[in-house]
């Protein structure tokens, strides 16, 4: 049986420290929905998603009630649409995006990921059409998320795709200008993208995945922060040990809920994503964990080291707690979704350059960053290229989710509300990268020996 202390610890984690399951994501293969008639293809997609995910939301709600832990999001990821739509004889994939949106609404999920293409080495006709469809797809749908993989360690960086993504991001922002560029919050540019990521906006169902699968992601920065506060003056060994133990406990909930959901839905259980995902709620912040470690503000000197310790300890504790770990698995540092990050930017402690350094030691990259609306396309492309280079050289996933806020400047805010939060517009380097970005072609894959 359990001690009173153990029971109270769990209850406190949920009630006071914001422990929750961030997402149960059902991955669905659409590979059998290919058809040269695009209407028929869309119908197959709609039918398959609504059939397999029909019970996803009710099962999630039942589990949340039985285990007494909130499950914030129920979501769906699908095979990258570029692969499915390519056979269809159409010049735009908007209808596919609208089909995904309708299917997601029908089963009651708030996001569906997979309006995606993998173009790290080059583009097919389908990839090209998908990329061209992204701005309008994100502007005219509510729940669809898009992602594009532009680089891998094995292929290098497709700079043509990087440049094009710079343009697509700007166009998406303009088309959703009435909502502060909201479309860009649903668009991620990746390097080394994982195939089983349950978190939006970057989730899709990879081609090595089974027919249907359940992946889960946990959110527990508040729990880790409160554990770190309890070892205020302890040395780094004790600090790391404390985080490891806490991460173990948090991850166990993800494992429990994921396995139970998979069993009830009759599909295999995939992975638990060990990422610490913050929310805009006060106290549920990764930045505040770093500050609890002894930094006056997130972003000051020492932040990268603190984040490296945190990220590694979370993985060590989490790996022990779950039989299968995957996805992004690292601390998230999205600016708009983390109250501590927002404060650090507001007070001048955290800059874009420091954020870039931080992404070397954690997942997932420059996430939910608002920059001035007049930032040149080439500068956005160069920011993506920098981030991709970090991922490619260091054999890790990196990503960019950036919002060139239409009509806004440094000091102003973009407001998305809900989990996407609000972001202060950050300054970018004013010197040009135009001639570099415009070279075109591909940056070769890095050598994987002689590593210094």
């Amino acid at each position: 049986m359990f001690t009173m202390q153990e029971i109270m610890e769990t209850i406190k984690m949920v009630q006071e420290e914001h422990l929750d399951i961030r997402t149960i994501t059902m991955g669905i293969s659409l590979r059998d929905c290919v058809d040269e008639n695009h209407k028929r293809s869309c119908q197959k997609i709609y039918d398959k998603i609504t059939r397999l995910a029909r019970n996803l939301v009710p099962v999630g709600e039942a589990l949340a009630s039985e285990y007494g832990i909130p499950i914030i999001n129920k979501r769906i990821s699908v095979t990258p649409i570029a692969l499915i739509a390519e056979a269809a004889n159409v010049e735009s994939y908007i209808d596919f995006a609208k089909t995904l949106d309708r299917a997601a609404a029908e089963v009651g999920v708030n996001f569906i990921g997979g309006f995606s293409a993998l173009v790290h080495k080059g583009m097919t006709k389908g990839d090209q059409l998908l990329l061209q469809s992204i701005p309008h797809a994100l502007a005219t749908t509510e729940r669809v998320c898009a992602s594009v993989n532009v680089a891998t360690t094995k292929a290098g960086i497709n700079m043509d795709a990087v440049y094009q993504m710079g343009r697509i991001i700007k166009e998406t922002a303009v088309l959703t200008a009435d909502r502060d560029g909201l479309g860009c919050a649903k668009l991620v540019v990746f390097a080394n993208v994982p195939e089983d990521n349950p978190f939006m906006a970057g989730a899709f169902h990879g081609i090595g995945e089974p027919e249907c699968v359940i992946n889960t992601g946990v959110s527990g920065p508040g729990v880790v922060k409160s554990a770190v506060e309890k070892v205020k003056d302890a040395d780094f060994g004790t600090l790391a040990e404390t985080i490891k133990k806490t991460a173990f406990k948090i991850t166990r909930m993800g494992e429990l809920v994921g396995r139970a959901a998979a069993e009830r839905l009759g599909v295999p259980f995939g992975i638990v994503d060990l990422s610490l995902a913050p929310t805009p709620a006060i106290g549920d912040s990764v930045a505040e964990i770093l500050e609890a470690m002894g930094l006056e503000r997130c972003g000051t000197h020492g932040t990268t080291a603190a984040l490296a310790l945190l990220n590694d300890a979370v993985k060590k504790g989490g790996a022990m707690a779950s039989s299968y770990v995957g996805g992004l698995s690292g601390a998230f540092i999205p600016v708009s979704e983390d109250a501590g990050m927002i404060r650090a930017v507001d007070e001048g402690a955290l800059t874009l350059d420091k954020l870039e350094a931080m992404t070397c030691v954690c997942s997932v990259g420059l996430d939910m960053i608002a920059v001035p609306g007049d930032t040149p396309v080439e500068t956005i492309a160069a920011i993506i290229a920098d981030e991709a280079a970090l991922g490619v050289v260091n054999n890790k996933t990196t990503a960019v989710r950036i919002i060139p806020a239409p009509g806004k400047n440094v000091g102003e805010y973009v407001e998305f509300g809900g989990l996407l939060g609000r972001a202060p517009v950050m300054s970018v380097n004013s010197f040009s990268a135009v001639d570099f970005v415009r070279r075109g072609g591909r940056i070769p894959a890095p050598i994987q020996s002689l590593r210094n």
């Binding site: 359990f2 009173m4 153990e6 029971i7 009630s65 039985e66 285990y67 007494g68 166990r252 069993e263």
Partner: protein
């Protein structure tokens, strides 16, 4: 795994200001629905009445969702917070 999901033990937690009749109210709901109490402990933590009760729903007339609703209702009438959670939520977290 199958066995664990089908396990019937729940943890009932009661948190709030102490007053007459809390235990009786909870125990009434349980006995009315043929739910056996396996263990019960209580303490005062930071002026807060805290009771943890482990119950067995094996022969219960109602399911966990209904029990939760009944407990919530009684909790609200007494001005305290009562919840019931499947024991796996605690077992997974605290036992390897």
């Amino acid at each position: 795994m199958k066995r664990e999901i089908q396990g019937k033990r729940v943890i009932i937690s009661v948190l709030g200001k102490d007053r007459v009749g809390i235990i009786a109210a909870v125990a009434n709901i349980l006995s009315e629905n043929n739910i056996n109490i396996l263990d019960i402990s209580q303490t005062i933590m930071q002026d807060l009445f805290t009771m943890i009760l482990i119950a067995d729903l094996e022969k219960s007339k109602i399911d966990l969702a209904t029990l939760k609703a009944k407990l919530k209702e009684v909790g609200e009438s007494l001005g305290i917070k009562i919840d019931a959670q499947h024991e796996d939520a605690f077992r997974y977290m605290h036992r390897i």
